[in-house]
Symmetry: none
Subunit: 208 residues, 4 copies
DNA sequence: AATGAATGAGCCTTCATTCAT
DNA sequence: CATGAATGAAGGCTCATTCAT
């Protein structure tokens, strides 16, 4: 007997799966557990998803879409608001965006680390993010200083390994960090932002 | 004392397990597969290891030991060699050390990302590494500037998220990065070192 | 009375089921597959059929009815047409009849072969067929030679194992035979008819 | 704890599987049922067999081997014994051979009937059998009458559809036939042999 | 030190079937 | 007539682990 609309059931399954995958990893989570935690029949999961992998891929596709949406809305809002909207505020906002999605980010990282893995959603997300940053920066370079701009690949390496990676690792590990080093989240966030500014932002590849 | 053939078998199992865990993750690798790949009888694995978890823990303990050893030898060698031994060279050496252990590093990262996870080998390694860096830096601060030194926690956050994390993520993802972005390893390494220097090293939390 | 769209849907389901059962066997075919292949909702199948078994039973009943109809029309036409209508032509016609129903025949054979099986549609069909043959032959025996006629059971064994079985096995296996032995259907049919005439028909239990 | 040698366990599984496949068909038999009936752990079945299909293939390969062995021994014995060893006796012996293997024969037939099926063990067996018959017959044709011998393909069609098929169908269906038509096995066998002689053997494609 | 055999529990997936709409 | 949603049971298969030898 259908209690809820199909879409809601599916969304529920996805949320539960995201939580469990983040907790125990993809292979550490059984479809049975997902079903029980979500309070649905196991077979129903296979009514909505081709197989277990389809669940994680759905999650990945969702986060890609959300990221694109986020980026697009940032572009349009960026034009209207004050240009002086400080970098620090932008950074805080981004971290907030990622913190709200720390579960899927952890999952994406875990899966990306498997040498076997054929999915490259982490890199896809990174590209989306970096391309946007790239455009922003190019804007600032308009007429002058163009020759000082680094090669694209170099730029991507910089953005990925000293920008995106610290940020997403931060959201993925902050809870465990706090627990291990006995510090509170607020302070950690503050320190992280400070560190990130001093390292990644301050130099920004010698552009500023 | 001559290594018994047993010790070698055990080492072989560990090496195979490390490779497979790095490829498919801990839960994605079965003891059966380890046995077959290592060419040993499945039951023999249980002769050398209490259970499957004991294998990964052994790997983690090994890397902790190797790190300690590496650090200690750096300390002693640091005293003897030229102080001017440039930071860039030190960095290259460290990356080399990590690159040689990229499999276990990937595994450690994967496991650390699981929200459930009770093991904290990643943080243990980080602490060992950071404590050493800390001592080095303090040395340089000896008499003067002491008041300018940041709070320990702040320092650790900086070292961990903008130093260690980019470095180990680099060694863990470099192969996949090159494949995805069609660049060669040499160039990626060069760009990474450059990026790392410009971000993490150049500022070094405003100490220099 | 115009066929309701419902009747057509039912017929469609039956056709699809027949095709699939012949391809993968009854147990190898899921109701889901039938529904998808037929392009109807799964639950609709249960609107028309009590359960999965009801589908195959429907098919069996259909073929029984068709056989009865075929036999009856042969009887009436036999009276009107030339008695000399050669045996070979009769045989060809019968084979054509069976070839047009090779799918359900294959299914019937498969199911009959299961030692467990409680349905005896194969034997039912055989009885219908043999009884008719029996009457035809008896006709020819009318007044004379009656004593020479074999016992009924013996007659049935002969008709079944050397008449019906070769014929229905031929229609069931001809495609695969051609594929395996690289021969074309025309030639196989010709050879089969020849073989059948020489063995089953020529002797016809020593009656002729 | 291993009660028996592995080979015996494997043989036991095969025997049980053969019985169950013959009763309910391959798809109608679950590995679970095989395990329970054989009194072994389900996982043990996968220790000895790659998958469920490997079980049936093993059975098929066994029967092929047994057939080859049977044929070979017939050849050698044929030379030593009286040439007059009547055809009827030879036939009885063959039927006995097939009756002793009626389960696997039923299975082979069932599987061969599936239009989908990619395995052709039935045809393989048939070829082995027919090739042997062929040689025997050719022997008898030695110098004379050679031109009267039919084309090979024609010969195979004859042997397969009017020789092998009636015979194996007989062994596969005799129990059910007796039950359905209320006759005893002895009588059925007698009638069948008689019918087979009169149809297939008597003409033998017009060779005799 | 090493192995073949064995197991219970659990895995992912599909089954036939039902029900509310 | 027809459908989307739901389910309990069972499917094939693999898991980590153990034991006797």
């Amino acid at each position: 007997m259908p209690k809820t609309s199909g879409e809601e059931t599916k969304k529920n399954i996805l949320q539960v799966a995201e939580k469990l995958f983040a907790e125990k990893g993809f292979n550490g989570t059984s479809v049975n557990t997902i079903a029980k935690t979500a309070g649905v029949n196991k077979a129903l999961i296979y009514y909505y998803f081709k197989d277990k992998n389809d669940i994680i891929v759905s999650l990945f596709k969702n986060i890609v879409n959300e990221l694109v949406e986020y980026i697009n809305q940032k572009v349009t809002s960026a034009e209207s608001v004050n240009q002086d909207f400080s970098m620090r505020n932008k950074l805080k906002e981004e971290i907030k965006f990622f913190l709200n999605r720390k579960k899927i980010i952890s999952i994406m990282l875990m899966e990306a680390l498997k040498a076997d893995n054929r999915s490259d959603y982490l890199f896809q997300c990174a590209e989306i993010f970096i391309n946007h940053e790239f455009k922003m920066v190019m804007e600032a370079f308009k007429d002058h200083k163009r020759n000082k701009f680094p090669e694209t690949l170099h730029y991507m390496v910089y953005e990925f390994f000293t920008g995106i990676i610290p940020m997403i690792t931060f959201v993925a590990l902050q809870d465990k960090w706090c627990e291990h080093f006995h510090c509170d989240q607020e302070k950690l966030l503050e320190y992280f932002i400070d560190s990130f500014e001093k390292s990644h932002l301050s130099s920004h590849l010698g552009l500023n």
